[in-house]
């Protein structure tokens, strides 16, 4: 496939044309820079300084071993900041409770699209001081999707596996975990703010690595894409965890509804015990975390005046 040049017609022409950065890339970069400047004006914070302030563990050649790329992340942070401050007008309570060093952030999952993870992440980046860069664990099958599989690692997302989680926590990073998983995010509207079953893995992980668990209640996510039903046969056909039927799409509203997000960070749990304990012993600790999140959710719902204000 290596082309010598002399035999191939127009080879030299192609070389001169492609030597620099491609025009598409240049255009994308200029648009991205504009978005970052706009976001900085709106938010009133220096986003680049925020990204520069996070602690990453670079390897010998100056790359993050998990593929985090600050260049791509600044565009994503700009978009997230606009969503966080303007679109969802997120209110954050108790972010100072997140301890330094390794931490597991455990939250309720909702809203068909994982915008709750985006909101928690942007809260950690914009509202915490010093800024924290949380990683989240994504589904394995996203690694098989083109473009997504490139984008996610560049934004610091990691394919969900216990080995990866352990390694990140040992590097003193923070991890966002949704123990409800796909069950939680694809709830229909009648089950809103009712926590489904939690997995046990996160407590075992915390016990193994001595990591504090910070419970987080996310209010406002359930109303962004109200789903009236789960079309299971189609979901099975498409190999998706669920196929939600969302009425707003029939009216041409692709964007989520501009609900008001509220994030409540609770006091961290510090468990001790054997990570390989019986399920019943682990379940007790999981139940403690789950009931704390549920009561925080209930309190948040009581306190809010309306969905959009």
């Amino acid at each position: 496939m290596a082309q010598g040049g002399s035999i191939v017609p127009f080879a030299g022409w192609r070389r001169t044309r492609l030597l620099g950065e491609s025009p598409l890339r240049q255009a994308l970069r200029s648009v991205g820079d504009r978005v970052v400047r706009l976001a900085e004006d709106v938010v009133g914070q220096d986003l680049d300084a925020r990204i520069a302030g996070i602690k990453t563990h670079l390897n010998e050649v100056g790359h993050d071993p998990f593929g985090f790329d600050p260049e791509t992340s600044r565009y994503a942070l700009a978009m997230a900041a606009l969503l966080h401050r303007r679109y969802f007008r997120t209110q954050v309570f108790g972010i100072n409770r997140v301890p330094q060093g390794r931490v597991l952030i455990v939250a309720n999952h909702s809203g068909q699209l994982p915008l709750d993870a985006v909101m928690i992440g942007s809260a950690m980046m914009l509202d915490a001081d010093p800024p924290r860069f949380p990683r989240s664990m994504v589904e394995t099958w996203t690694a098989e999707l083109p473009f997504i599989s490139t984008l996610y690692p560049r934004l610091g997302q990691v394919v969900g596996s216990p080995e990866n989680a352990r390694r990140l926590l040992q590097q003193e990073e923070s991890l966002i975990v949704f123990p409800e998983g796909a069950r939680g995010i694809s709830k229909t509207f009648d089950q809103r703010y009712q926590l489904t079953d939690f997995g046990l893995g996160f407590v075992r992980l915390a016990l193994e690595t001595g990591t504090p668990i910070v419970p987080v209640a996310v209010i406002g996510g359930e109303e962004q894409y109200p789903s009236i039903a789960d079309f299971k046969p189609l979901a099975r056909l498409l190999n998706m965890p669920a196929f939600p039927v969302m009425p707003q799409l029939f009216f041409g509203m692709i964007a989520p509804l501009p609900t008001k997000y509220r994030l409540y960070f609770g006091e961290p749990f510090r468990f001790s015990g054997d990570p390989d304990d019986d399920d019943s012993a682990i379940e007790e600790k999981v139940w403690l975390v789950k009931s704390t999140i549920q009561s925080m959710v209930n309190r948040g719902l009581r306190e809010r005046k309306g969905v959009f204000i």
Partner: protein
Amino acid sequence: MPNPQITSRRKPSARRGREPVRERPSARAPVARGVFGHVTESPKPLEPVQQPQPITQEFPKPATEGAVLVTGVCGRLGKLLARELHRTDQVVGVDRRPFDDRPKDIVHHQVDMRRKKMKDIFRGRNIRAVVHLGVLHDPRRSDRERHSWNIVAFQKLLDYMSQYQVPKLVVLSGANVYGPQPNNPQFLTEDAPLLGAQHFGGMRDLVELDMLAQSFFWKHPDTETVVLRPCHIVGRVHNAASNYLRLERPVMVMGFDPMMQVVHEKDVVRAIQLALRPGVRGIYNIRGPGEMPLSHLIRQVGGRPRQVPTPLAKVALDQLWKLRLSTFPSQELDHLRYVCMVDDSRARTELGYEPAHSIDRVLEDVRRLRHQLS
């Protein structure tokens, strides 16, 4: 597989270069008897030792004396290793190819590893270690040929080793035996399953070779078996990874940009030298000077990636393969899509291995050969 400490002590009388001593019934014993046609009673009375070696507590086998047998010595890596080793050790090379420009003190046998002549090499001299580099990676060769080279020949080699009680075996496997998978953890440890052949049948014999070495590790505790699994070896070698990086416009799968590890060939040679020290046994992943996205790697070498969608790349590569215009089978595209990186912490702590060549130096060597070729 855990890395057990040395528990067994080899009898000092069991020297190489004389009649094979079979002290212990092994799972391989009946096979060996059938193949080589001689039966030795066990237990056999031990012969007196001519030169008793001082035995220390830490290293039960002070195997400093005797030659190092290097199979596949005429490959680029084999030559490098031979040139490094012959300064301190006696080196015996075995390869089908001639080794013309070898240093004078290297003994080279131009034989096929499957031939009986191999046994004479073991019988003729005192061999203290075997480094197995003679692995056929060429995907163009037929399955049968690859099997007979990589498995049958290796099995025979292992038989001779157990017969003549060679105290050290170093096998160069590769991180490819883990296989690139979408659900791989970012860093694979030595305990990870070997799934390399799951989607690419061509890898089957390389996985099997690794397994054979592992079973030899357990069956023959007298022999210190070391399996090295380096990530992509690049430099002046002619393997798939180096050839790919040397391309002017290498194909990348559109929408995929996995993290990649490369290691310099000389670092691998040093790892083999470290593995040859007495007392070292087990499986070690070998990693280079750090990982970076594939696109960065290609740009640093000076190539310009050509983005091709997966289905198109598959069809095109299949056609090119059929027409013998490409040396990359389409199943290897998985390497350009999914991560297959290794964790070398065990090699660092137990082997004392540390990559000495920086990424710039590694890529410089790749680039230099490209310019020489063009």
